[in-house]
Symmetry: C2
Subunit: 280 residues, 2 copies
């Protein structure tokens, strides 16, 4: 198992707060010691930081935590290896170009019989089921849409259909982004939250850090976060169901296959530090 973290925002936003919680799980509060990676989009470009070392000991993770890179779309992953060695080519996220855009992908789970998937000219470089499934998704997309699709929401609905096929091979939780959209598909563990005005305070579950979003934001900011487990103990995260997908566009949820408000689950874990005075 691994942990996923994604962000979609309407203004360039740093992910230092959530990333601080996530990297503790990379060998400290969690067992995900086999590397980590994070991709930040800036316009159509991106920058990726990754390390096959545990995130809690990584100098590069320290840089990412302390240097507030602002982005409207982020995909991050910490890894507990099951398929493929612990090395850089097997470290998520993976990025490939399709339709003149960079697509970034991270996966949590494990597949069986995945070697049979035909990836066409998108050849995997490493040995993970994750990268191979990403190549297969891209190949399916290029076959269905030889030219850049106009209706992106329909395109993502097709991605979800392909993920349904992959879910028959095992556990498939994933994040996918092109820098504008962030999509997430669930097999078992995925939560999401949208933060917007009126902003409150939030407290990390994994480290003794509280943030007052009101001080960090403007009233028009909209930020959605997707994570394998809720990162904060005093906010309401939506728990995703098996086969559910959600699509975010610059912060707002714009698509998916369930009613947005039908399945709100409160995070059950308690924060380590005191409860905020102004809960969301």
């Amino acid at each position: 198992m691994c942990e996923l973290l994604g962000m979609s925002a309407n203004v360039p936003t740093d992910i230092c707060f959530s990333f601080t919680g996530l990297i503790q799980r990379g060998g400290n509060t969690g067992p995900h010691k086999d590397g980590w990676g994070i991709t930040f989009y800036e316009g159509k470009g991106f920058r990726t930081f990754k390390d096959p070392q545990p995130s809690c000991d990584s100098k590069i993770a320290e840089l990412v935590q302390n240097y507030p890179i602002k982005s409207r779309a982020v995909v991050s992953h910490i890894r507990q290896a099951n398929r493929g060695q612990v090395n850089l080519e097997n470290t998520h996220p993976f990025t490939r170009e399709l339709w003149g855009r960079y697509w970034t992908f991270a996966h949590n789970g494990q597949l069986t019989d995945y070697q049979k998937l035909n990836t066409g000219h998108f050849r995997p470089v490493g040995e993970t089921d994750s990268e191979l499934s990403f190549c297969w998704l891209l190949q399916k997309l290029e076959q269905r849409f030889p030219e850049p699709p106009q209706d992106m929401e329909a395109m993502f609905a097709y991605v979800a259909e392909c993920c349904d096929e992959l879910r028959e091979l095992g556990v498939y939780n994933m994040l996918l982004s092109d820098g504008e959209y962030v999509m997430t598909y669930c097999t078992n563990h995925l939560y999401w939250i949208t933060r917007k005005a009126p902003f409150g305070k939030a407290t990390l579950l994994d480290e003794d850090v509280t943030i007052n979003f009101q001080e960090e934001t403007t009233p028009n900011d909209v930020v959605s976060v997707v994570a394998t487990q809720p990162l904060t103990g005093n906010e309401t995260w939506h728990r995703m169901k098996p086969g559910e997908y959600n699509l975010f566009h610059f912060g707002e949820r714009v698509g998916g296959n369930v009613d947005e408000l039908a399945d709100v689950a409160f995070a059950e874990a308690k924060p380590k530090s005191q409860a905020p005075t102004e809960p969301l």
Copy 2:
């Protein structure tokens, strides 16, 4: 114009010394203020650091300079924009997958009439002639070698033939690597040097730094460096001629279209600090 820096080594080697010289040219001793990037291979994987900011002011460049990432193949670039805006998607190096390997590319120069080049399914994301020419090269390679080529040296000779075509469109100095090989093609400004035992001292031209390679190496180390301009003032760099290419494999020059020793040029510039006591 931009500046290129490449390295090929037989053991994982850090590039801190050469990179320290290069980044001074990014807005300090040189005019290349429109971003910089560096790609380090580790096995088949890679990590890229890039910034559209001048390298001499970049926090990420500071990390790269102080944190000795060791690699056997490095491609780096500092940019003075001519085609395409100053943003992340136009910042070199560019990396794409072909034959299940990651290929990394950086270019110095400027092309005209490049829009007519057919890039097939390798679509550029940014607006530079550089990225478009890289996509065209990959498309030519995939057409010529639908399956991964066995004879890599013949493959690189074909890359050089394609570069001859590009040179008819303007100035085309470039670096290309798959993590095992580093190839360089010259139109006007490119130099290379191979350092091996007995190692001596070297002094940067752009900053007052001297290194004694003997203290940093073992007798079996072989490291080749390629740069737009010599980075050190007291070593012998090979000056490349128009249309010349050189191919390095884990430090050693293994191919090219000129006699290795036919065209040795001494770097004319003088080091800022005192001459080393033990020149190569």
